[in-house]
């Protein structure tokens, strides 16, 4: 991955300061000038003492798709929760599987967000992540058979596609929309 330019690094830092000031205000419970100023001082101090790793964000926000992503995400979270709750009370031990899913967009940001989202949707949990190849190794709970497994695998790629549609760059969007070549076995 190419190193960030100076401008990108400054933008990344300003975003971090804004985020921290927001959290500070929320912690105090109200937005006042006093909270904002003291929050900004503390945010700068935090960033000086604990510099955050720079995050490269090359995409742009598509508000409609962002809403769509979150709507689908919360729907999935509800389904997942009741599914696990159901499995908890069902007799017998649930079967599971670990599958490798290679993401199409290999940026750190995309991998992190997909991993977060996938952990909260039905049946999946990240067991290992390979930053170099952009592969997530996902533990699937409650897998019935091989066909079910393939459906779950496709679902992970759908999560990625929805995410990229929401915040990805045009180039990343093309990569996600491109027909997926079948892996030669």
């Amino acid at each position: 991955m190419s190193p960030l330019t100076k401008r990108e690094r400054i933008r990344s830092r300003i975003t971090a300061v804004i985020g921290l000031v927001l959290v500070w205000n929320l912690l105090w419970g109200e937005f006042t000038w006093m909270n904002t100023i003291s929050g900004a001082v503390i945010a700068v101090a935090i960033l000086l003492v604990f510099p955050l790793p720079p995050v490269k964000f090359g995409g742009r926000l598509r508000p409609l798709h962002v809403i769509g992503f979150f709507a689908r995400f919360f729907y999935d979270l509800v389904v997942a929760s009741f599914q696990v709750a159901f499995l908890a009370f069902r007799p017998g031990e649930p079967k599971s599987a670990i599958v490798a899913v290679e993401l199409r967009v290999k940026s750190d940001l995309n991998m992190t967000l997909v991993a977060e989202a996938v952990s909260l949707v039905p049946g999946s949990l990240i067991a290992e992540a390979d930053q170099q190849t952009g592969t997530l190794y996902i533990h699937m709970l409650g897998v019935r058979d091989a066909e079910h497994l393939e459906r779950l695998r496709a679902e992970v790629l759908h999560v990625e596609a929805r995410l990229i549609r929401a915040i990805g760059s045009d180039e990343e969007l093309r990569r996600v929309n491109a027909p997926r070549e079948e892996p030669a076995t």
Binding site: L27, E30, K95, S96, A115, S119, L125
Partner: protein, 132 residues
């Protein structure tokens, strides 16, 4: 029914459902066969249960100071629960704490040697060896 009555009913439903989901998460923690399965229980019903209880509280309390704190709790719960589950699961898998007889397939096992060694190279730094 008054508006307050409707809000109370919604809050009650949220809280009871949230509590039941948390209970289910607890049962799942006890009953699931191995650690990776248990992390599912810790990550999903528990998060939604907490969100529902928070929603119920927010409807009942409805003061700005408390609701902003709840928003923060919800946000950090969503952001950190998967990370915690991943870190515990990863450590358990590397330590061989997984019940392999319950796995239909394991596509990670053949790749494991990629993760065990070469810590520097994974950061993309050690591509140049120091001169011998």
């Amino acid at each position: 029914m008054t508006l307050q009555g409707v809000l109370d009913a919604i809050a009650a439903v949220c809280m009871v459902t949230g509590a039941l989901l948390s209970l289910a998460a607890g049962v799942a923690l006890l009953r699931f066969p191995d650690l990776l399965s248990r992390m599912h229980a810790a990550a999903k019903p528990q998060v939604l249960g907490l969100l529902l209880v928070l929603t119920g509280c927010a409807i009942r309390i409805a003061t700005v100071v408390d609701v902003t704190t709840m928003v923060l709790i919800a946000f950090f719960q969503l952001a950190t629960a998967p990370v915690a589950a991943h870190m515990v699961g990863r450590a358990a898998y590397r330590d061989g704490q997984t019940r392999t007889d319950l796995l239909i397939t394991d596509e990670l096992a053949p790749q494991m040697d990629r993760f065990s060694e070469r810590p520097a190279e994974r950061n993309g730094r050690a591509s140049v060896d120091p001169p011998a």
